[in-house]
Symmetry: C2
Subunit: 225 residues, 2 copies
Amino acid sequence: MEKSKKEVLVLEDILGSNKKIAGSIRQKLLEHRILTVNILSSPGSGKTSLLEKLGLKLQEKYKVGVIEGDVETERDAERIRKAGLPAWQITTHGACHLEAKMLAQIFDQIPANLDFLFIENVGNLVCPASFDLGESLRFVLLSVPEGDDKPKKYPEAFITSNVFVITKCDLLPYLPFDADRVTAEALEINPKLEVFRTSALTGEGIDALSQYLENKLQELRSKNA
Amino acid sequence: MEKSKKEVLVLEDILGSNKKIAGSIRQKLLEHRILTVNILSSPGSGKTSLLEKLGLKLQEKYKVGVIEGDVETERDAERIRKAGLPAWQITTHGACHLEAKMLAQIFDQIPANLDFLFIENVGNLVCPASFDLGESLRFVLLSVPEGDDKPKKYPEAFITSNVFVITKCDLLPYLPFDADRVTAEALEINPKLEVFRTSALTGEGIDALSQYLENKLQELRSKNA
């Protein structure tokens, strides 16, 4: 379905301007030697639940912070704070994704001594994929109840991510979801994806994901020594 | 978070042009006395599974058709056809919602003698809410595994819908989802919502929803006699 010429020009304009701001955010984050993860998924895939578990695990050894992106409400930031992690809210009031300029506006609230900064994007498997936020890594989450046919139906999020996290794996015995099939399909779209199976309920995969992020932090710091 | 003046102008332009085309589609559908339902939800909430059951139930007495909107692939249309219902695919190739002009492009494929036309929108709880497609009714679906905190986090879809369908209710005994709480919250946002609890697995709520649609078809036809 073709976009009008005007729509294409404005979109290019927005994306171009976003890319510039994201580049400057990325530079600052790397100067502070912070590993930043942009987390994408549909509403209800378990982004906040994963962050509660993963954030607490990392917080045993590191300084962790979370930026919460939501269309409305501060519910997720409240959950994260209740779990014991610092959280900063960005409410988009209708917008379907975070943009780098939104981060720029709250950037001076982010402590420079963080080790890990997680950005929970707006719940939307489509639009956030087009917007670089200056992150070091991008995660795409898909929960078992959503079904194993999603990667090819929503390819952009999988193409642009570094890590594919299958969430709510405690439900695998009860629902028709083939984790091997969905992994193969995701890797077909993007062979560089690292894949993790997790459950915020049982804790499955949290240690492995935490170890992966520790390694990535070391890599980032040895490159930016 | 403020949009730039240029972004606001272009958005108004797109929505204004969409409204005009939607108006002309609505008029044609009413001339044909077709009841059209635009279905919104996150990816994986069970739009296609609901349509398989509801469409077959209605097809016992009526002529039913389905338009399938997807970012990529024709998987959902194939499922609907396999279930025994006619389906027409709109693949948006990246776009996060259906627009009226996309429907206009395939409109001559839709038989004029349908009773019910369902439009399964792109899986996205945010963007499709802003685009009128000329429908008679709008449904918003939320599945039990997505969590009961969604209406206020994604209000637009609930504000602009006529019907709120809670899907995958067979999972209610196993997951922390308070159906009364989510119903109360949705009605707080939009007191006119009709609420149905359904399960495509057990068939719960399918007869009630089918009866509701039959009544709405009679209403439409008595108004447009």
